[in-house]
């Protein structure tokens, strides 16, 4: 339906599956390079999610990677070594000025990935194959993660001489249930698989194939999309807000938020549908 607005993107395909109303499916589309990211791609990623965030015909989003080999192999190291990571090349440059430019660059890179987190609609990531480095940064900014049995994850950054700076180190320990595990995988860069990811709470479900994983993610998204968008979007917002604050501050924010949101017609629509055992419909938001 809303599809025609999203044709301008070069590295992402955005589809609106007919069988799943209000669901958008975003695909990273550079399969010949294992969906490795370079700067133009993360800028586009930020634009895709900022647009979906405000599109009233979208209520839930699935993100996956094109091709058989990888969700994404992470940063395109060849490209990076000529850009961001070329920083150590030039002795003549003042290290302070170089630092100022690097900081701007990192902040802007982080901001593109954070677009997934600040997107007002829930985002489910379906991963398969190589899901390295940036794959972890990106997926921890999403709300739910699922994967295929053969997924190979790694917090790869220390292997290229740097501390992960696009979100993994801040978000991963808040996503999983063991700080010691998060430290081990970040400090060793070792590969871990789907079963381990499930056990530590990194992914919610493991599927047998990429097709099944994407299908499963779309169905979960579709389920979310049948609920009141006022309720769903408020739930995402309040959970992200509360993650970073005390319970008391979370409660206070929730009370103010819901002082407007409880005035929605969706509550009576939902209650009435509940009584009548039929599916409610909700206005766009």
């Amino acid at each position: 339906m809303a599809e025609n607005n999203y044709n301008s993107f070069k590295y992402f395909i955005i589809r609106f599956p007919a069988e799943h109303q209000y669901v958008a499916h975003v695909e990273i589309n550079r399969p010949d390079k294992m969906n490795a990211f370079f700067e133009a791609m993360w800028i586009e990623l930020g634009q895709v999610f900022d647009r979906l965030s405000q599109d009233p015909s979208v209520r839930a989003i699935v993100l996956s990677g094109a091709g058989e080999k990888a969700f994404t192999a992470g940063l395109d190291v060849t490209a990076a070594s000529q850009g961001l990571l070329s920083a150590d090349g030039d002795q003549a440059v003042d290290p302070a000025r170089k630092a100022a430019h690097l900081r701007r660059h990192i902040v802007s890179f982080q901001d593109c990935i954070t677009a997934v987190e600040r997107c007002e609609k829930p985002v489910i990531v379906a991963m398969h194959g190589f899901s390295l480095g940036l794959a972890v940064d990106l997926s921890t900014a999403a709300d739910v993660r699922v994967c295929t049995r053969d997924t190979k994850f790694a917090v790869k950054e220390v292997d290229i001489g740097l501390a992960a700076d696009i979100g993994t180190l801040s978000r991963l320990p808040k996503v999983v249930g063991s700080f010691g595990w998060a430290k081990e995988v970040a400090l060793t860069a070792r590969i871990f698989g789907a079963e381990e990811a499930l056990r530590v709470g990194f992914v919610n479900r493991v599927f047998e194939s990429k097709e099944a994983a994407v299908q499963g993610a779309l169905e979960m998204a579709a389920l979310m999309a049948t609920k009141s968008p006022v309720a769903v979007q408020g739930t995402k917002e309040i959970m992200n807000y509360s993650r970073d604050r005390s319970v008391q501050d979370g409660l206070r924010y929730t009370a103010v938020w819901n002082s407007a949101m409880l005035q929605t017609k969706d509550v009576s629509a939902a209650l009435l549908s509940g009584l009548k055992k039929r599916t409610p419909t909700f206005e766009k938001l």
Copy 2:
């Protein structure tokens, strides 16, 4: 023993099992309505826990629900749709003024549930059957959760068109080990069972029957009640304080707290009993 002070409550039965010294057992008592809550009940809940909090003859508390069907089915939707959730009815009312009243109402509702968290004694919740919506809000305010094998949990709120606002969204992710799992159940409202609850760390133990669950909870409470109340109440306070703050702030608060509490006679009583292999007794607190 202290039992006679608690007879005035209408929706809660408070017992002091003879075999478990210093343990109080609170039962939600509206079994014909699956223990569904309306306003008078949560106000009473707050009063029950505020009173137990300061009762020197109580050192640990178990909370369970009367009847076979449910710990609690959550909010009494019929009652709510005439009260709090009727908000969207009246077009003539100024939305800002309506919001002000809703906010006061939510804050006061939250405050009643938070009475479980601010209660100075540990609270163990034993759940069974339907444990929906408010059941989750309420149980996350407690210290330990156990359940029966047949418990059916759900963060039900999005199904009635609203973001859960009585604590689940702020507390659930801090209670379990997977933020993605917490988001999935909050965004889909799907039912989950005891095994899943155990796996994600939401409950500590699963029992075969309601009787066994309540019995198990009472025994755990009884064990806590044999320890120094100075030590136990300090442990609850410091853990709740630290959950919401940096490790550094937690350590500083602990040091100030214990600067008074280490002066207790309970330490020498406990050490001496340890040497003599007998059970220490501690003064009331």
Copy 3:
């Protein structure tokens, strides 16, 4: 190599295993008393880790306990009951002045244990046998925990009449995935074993014997020590910083940190070695 600087310590043996370059192995060395701690020991512990923190020939550290019986049985209660815990003895002393002295004492004790957390290099704790009380405080200040199958853990403090004040109550819930579990073990002081510790995410791995556990820890440390020390130390710092703050603050700090650190030559060294399939070497830090 750097070994000779560490001979002056009385209660800790520091070794530099020849087969694991840049790895230090610290052993608590009071096996006849089950490695129980008294004041001189925790002061020395703080000194050991503060020195290792700045030693450029050290890139990762393993901490274990000497003897077969215990990693550490915790506080030496006999010694403590004549020192810190003798506080309740003297009626003539002003409780406020006593509190002032206790507070200074606790703060200084906490500070010694926190030396493990503020150590710039990753610390892996290998536990076996009795690992009680202070064992848990100490190990939660480390980055990764492993243990043997027969390890007996307990948050023992309530059994001696006090709330644990050297870090467990602030750090344990941030290390594991279930707040309810952390509360149960802290409020009951019950023993728990290796399997349970693994399931809740307290330890990363369980080994069959003490020898295997120490060996496993050394290998994990050795793996970390092969990576760029700029990357590894930044990873530890940023993860500890982010644990205590919002994601947004974590990202901002990361950007400033990496604005200097991305200028390292280690990045090009790592990238080049990656291309040439050889092991990179990195300058000391």
Copy 4:
């Protein structure tokens, strides 16, 4: 108008001056003891302000003290030395248990004074004569302070052997413009006068007589009461919220708050009245 609901209070007179619509005037009424406070009084104070907070016929409040001598001389030391401050008397009592009781007592005392801060309507304090100890705690919980030329202020607590614990130490430095000045007066307990209070920003205005001060406060309150109560109460709430948080968090909370509040009819009423040069009237809140 709403006057008849407030006759039950014993230590406070609540008036609704006919010439100042929507303004309540609260008077501390124990002039023969220089309005010194004992426990029953601060409990009543909390009740007065909690009730005014929700009374729709009240939009702004003035607080002053009866009699010529004092706004309030602070804590009634004679009463306190038999209650709260008698704590050091009894050697037989366990210092830890005594601390637990003292803490509850202090928290409940603080909560009564904080009722002034959490009151949804602006509170203006008009002080005269002796305004010592608790007078400062109390007045810093209000929104605006004015005084007479002859007012004698002191943060008196160190003179009776204790650190002020009812709010001055937390609030005074956030109210005035010099942290060094706040420390000096708190560490020396020296008297300071109206001119100094004005210069450091503690009071907004100095009047020649008590009558003029109360009159001036009532006029300021009356001015606030002519504005939209939606706007005024939101302004107080957001300013108090932001005082304790980062600018960014303040802005986010403001946006959520106003997302409901901008829907008020008061905006069009105010705009229309502005155009027509007449005084708008606003619905009760």
Copy 5:
């Protein structure tokens, strides 16, 4: 010099005064409407400051208003009443959905004004004439404020039925030295003048005429622009960071920031120039 890049703006004139190297002068240019703001203007304002922030030929910025009458009279109420503030018009719209749109709108408006605060270069605001409502929001986002003797300030928002939501309520109390004064002017919307603004610390200096004020601001900016841009931009960043955090967090951030910045060549350039009594020159940043 860099002037030609800034010609595309419609409501702002950007000049680069020849006599003040590295200084940009931004003028709000809608004098016939007393520089009142509507949406297109604040969007442009955000763009102007985001661009100046990264322009290496700019080291300090002055902001003033065109015309004799006003720096800015604030929000263009006529325009707003058809846009943002028209919210209360339509009874048919769901208040929750309306709230969602209002919130997005406010957040985006706030973000434009915050561009002044996040601008990496110091911003000095020179105000004259009417400086109402948005004038205060805008100026508190700047680093330094000066004004003319005849400036008329007011936190005007309560007069149009709303709590100021674009920054004043969060920033003004952190800018001045008296919380009570800030509350009074925000709760009464009364006009205050230059002398009062100087006394409370809102403005740094008062000038006799608009010409003198702009000239004084330009000279202050020029002085800042002679210093090392590494030092000046770091100073602004650290002061804004520290305003919102504990001293301890401020110190930690400063240490990381300066670990890169002290490597600048500007330090030796400045030291050498100091010795040789000549003016240092610094590379662009």
Copy 6:
């Protein structure tokens, strides 16, 4: 009395004036170099204050500078340019490794100055003559500042190419009443005098001569030293704690702190002395 313990310091003279019981007077003693600081001096400063902090015969401290010319001219730039600030010299060094060393160095320097803030006793700084750069960092870590009429202050750091990193940028805006003023003096490095310092709340009092300033500071210290040390030290601790946190957190910490401290005998001693109009004496602390 306690004097003989403090003879070992090289750059500081510590006196215990006979006429002011419990007062220590610390003098920076490098008058021939205008008391400019190099590394050995700030390390010694930290040691002096850490020792005074725990010395029971000290209840208040005055800090001043020897000689007629300067309290301190700040950093000894010649020494620094061979140490800390020589950082930009060596092109061969890896900027990341250089940054790691600089950070450690800055943190350790900050920590020495923070010794003044964490000192448990109040510290009054008496400044005269040149009080530049580090003078401001140092004095903002104290509790109260006074000066002579001829004092010349400057936040000098931008003049040597760096952002002040030893505390001024984090502490100065929390000490004075105008954020704009603090930014102006930090961004321009301009000199300001005693009158301006008094007006903005940076100093509490201005004296005509150095002798009078030191005398005035000693008298203020002596006054503080006559009060209960339990009360005075608690007041300093709670005010510093609350500066960095919300009012609510400040109140909670205060309640725990005073739950021990109100048990002091000083309260009854003070009350009794008040009744009997005599000076109380208090036990050492």
